[in-house]
Symmetry: C3
Subunit: 306 residues, 3 copies
Amino acid sequence: MLKGRHIIESTDLSLEELESLFQLAERIVEAPQRFSDRGRGKILATLFYEPSTRTRFSFEAAMLRLGGQVIGFSEPGSSSAAKGESIGDTIRTVGCYADAAVMRHPKEGAPRLASKFSSIPVINAGDGGHQHPTQTLTDLLTIRRLKGDISNKTIGLCGDLMFGRTVHSLVNALAQYDNLHFVFISPPELTIPPYILEELGSNTYEQTNDLEAVMGKLDILYMTRIQRERFFNEEEYLRLKGYYILDAEKMELAKEDMIVMHPLPRVDEIAPEVDRDPRAVYFQQAKFGMYIRMALIMELLGLGGE
Amino acid sequence: MLKGRHIIESTDLSLEELESLFQLAERIVEAPQRFSDRGRGKILATLFYEPSTRTRFSFEAAMLRLGGQVIGFSEPGSSSAAKGESIGDTIRTVGCYADAAVMRHPKEGAPRLASKFSSIPVINAGDGGHQHPTQTLTDLLTIRRLKGDISNKTIGLCGDLMFGRTVHSLVNALAQYDNLHFVFISPPELTIPPYILEELGSNTYEQTNDLEAVMGKLDILYMTRIQRERFFNEEEYLRLKGYYILDAEKMELAKEDMIVMHPLPRVDEIAPEVDRDPRAVYFQQAKFGMYIRMALIMELLGLGGE
Amino acid sequence: MLKGRHIIESTDLSLEELESLFQLAERIVEAPQRFSDRGRGKILATLFYEPSTRTRFSFEAAMLRLGGQVIGFSEPGSSSAAKGESIGDTIRTVGCYADAAVMRHPKEGAPRLASKFSSIPVINAGDGGHQHPTQTLTDLLTIRRLKGDISNKTIGLCGDLMFGRTVHSLVNALAQYDNLHFVFISPPELTIPPYILEELGSNTYEQTNDLEAVMGKLDILYMTRIQRERFFNEEEYLRLKGYYILDAEKMELAKEDMIVMHPLPRVDEIAPEVDRDPRAVYFQQAKFGMYIRMALIMELLGLGGE
């Protein structure tokens, strides 16, 4: 039972809680209209201190599809923060108006800080390069739905594994499952940090800079973009961003039932021709993102699983 | 039946489809509350890559008055486009969350491009100086409601006829009707382009730079503003913008049942004193704009005419 | 009966109208869910020509909790005003789409001007340093609910009493009640203007720059922040802003049933340690702000008290 909880990190949920959340999400996936009145009379506040249209849309659509309503801002400029208000005061005031709050913030730790003052559930929708737990929930639900199960897979993660928040959260969450083999694929300058590797539990891993060489053994290929905003140096960014581009030729090396995931937005790292391959599931993944958020909002507001 | 179609240009609808849409719109005008639940459970995305409060409000009010819901952005700054995402990826993602999308974009062709990738209906709400089909639908519905019929009229169009997107779309759409006489009234620097004149079919036209001289013969006077953003040169803009100002004195020359239309916003081209004249229908026109959008959304989403 | 009225200044309501509004608000406070369908089918437009997240959220949540819907903008950049439209034209157009409008504007008098052209009720949500009547209604409802009654109180107002719009409106409204004693607490540079003092009627007042000295006699302490945007000189601002900081030590001097109010956002003028004191009611006050706005919207739209 998650009623009244905050969701700040992807590890805030136990395996049992995850399981229960996924079961609810799957019931929503199968008949979303059955849940179209569960949120009636409830308000979700979307507090975006940095813009992220995709994430905001996903949360807002989730709330609206539950029959609830939304208030919010999508730019720091419109917020009271410009008047020097603390994040604690902001969330306490928002708690007077709304039943739950989603927060995106450029500073690490801001949603955690807000949750300490909040009378309503706070969901972290990304804080700097740190955490974005509902992306992780989205990824896990996608694997579960499309591969039947999360355990016993070979999972490739490709791109910027050093700064990529999405990858770190996902690997941490996957590490709770059994018998996974991770294949970390990145340029040497952007390898996954050692502290992530230390948390893999009984799961195994390998590291490589050669995507083609490992393509054939993957059940799942998780692609990420190389984000300009993580670099101090434009030249460095330009050199690395084209390093791993997934195209139709590389897809020929992959298993027939492999799936290609991506947290989106995608820039150049997946060639448009791959979109037509049925193994490319990144747009389905976005839709699962809305469904898992519907489930999460229902659980946090205690809107009833049945 | 328009279900699932995209509306990118004002000529995307045949005369028969227009007729059916207008009939639905007129039923909405007469009893809007009868339609207040048709959109229940549906979401419209308003994607405004340049601000246009009026157009956005009109679409959002239309959807809300159907009982539907809205997600959206009103400024390019809040969009994922800032992260380098293609318009195709944006619309595919939006299609995961929403049931239809309205797009306003500074670049010509952007809504057309989006529609090619979209799983949901896309409505063009203005692309640069190019097309704005729901404005045209608004204008046609206004004429139909207030003049009984679209054929057999003398229609004056006044102002910037060279760059004025609204006028071009309207003239193209009107050209499908019979027995119209167009009077194009503009300074010599801003006359209507020849390719528009070539498409008038069996209808007739004249061109003049003298508003007063033609005032008495008009059934409809369609005024437009001279838009600063279409000029490279501030001096040129200032010289031309005051060229044709409609005032009470000029209105005395007009027929008693002439109507004055304007797409709004109006700047100086209609003196405020004209607002009190019952022939000034530009605010009624704005209201018809909401009703035609209600009808259009219903048709595109297949929400049932009856 | 307030149906169709505009609310531009806090003195726009008579004592009888206020009384009736508060009675409705109190019925809402006691059972908000009873009113969750009153606004069904209605649309509120929130026109924020300068950002004010808190005020906007309060109005939007009020309308949504009545079952109504909202359209709006939160930044001047998104508005048609950027195209040179007059405020009269804007409100006439908004009146085509919405049933009532809330306006926040940096220029004094803008909401009044808008109301002169408007076919729908206009509520002033702050115009420059001038008026913010729903803040005043919030403050009055808070006093009434938490102190039982508005008359027969000693009310301290502390901070920037010269430029503080909130204080001026509140004092004007309170002056209609009986047997109040005002204690104006400010640095000499920021004393309350004489024209406010002239309107106190039969009520009494004193002025001081010493908060501690008067603390013990207050029934209500209304704190305000010293706003950077009211100063031309950064140095002057920094010197004065720390002048009166309410902390736990000063709270020890106060009556046991005194209440501390604040319009929020708070910066430094109330130490965070005070938040834990049950006499600190500023977050409850924010919640009353939503309820009084629900009552006001119901009255202006004629949505029925019973």
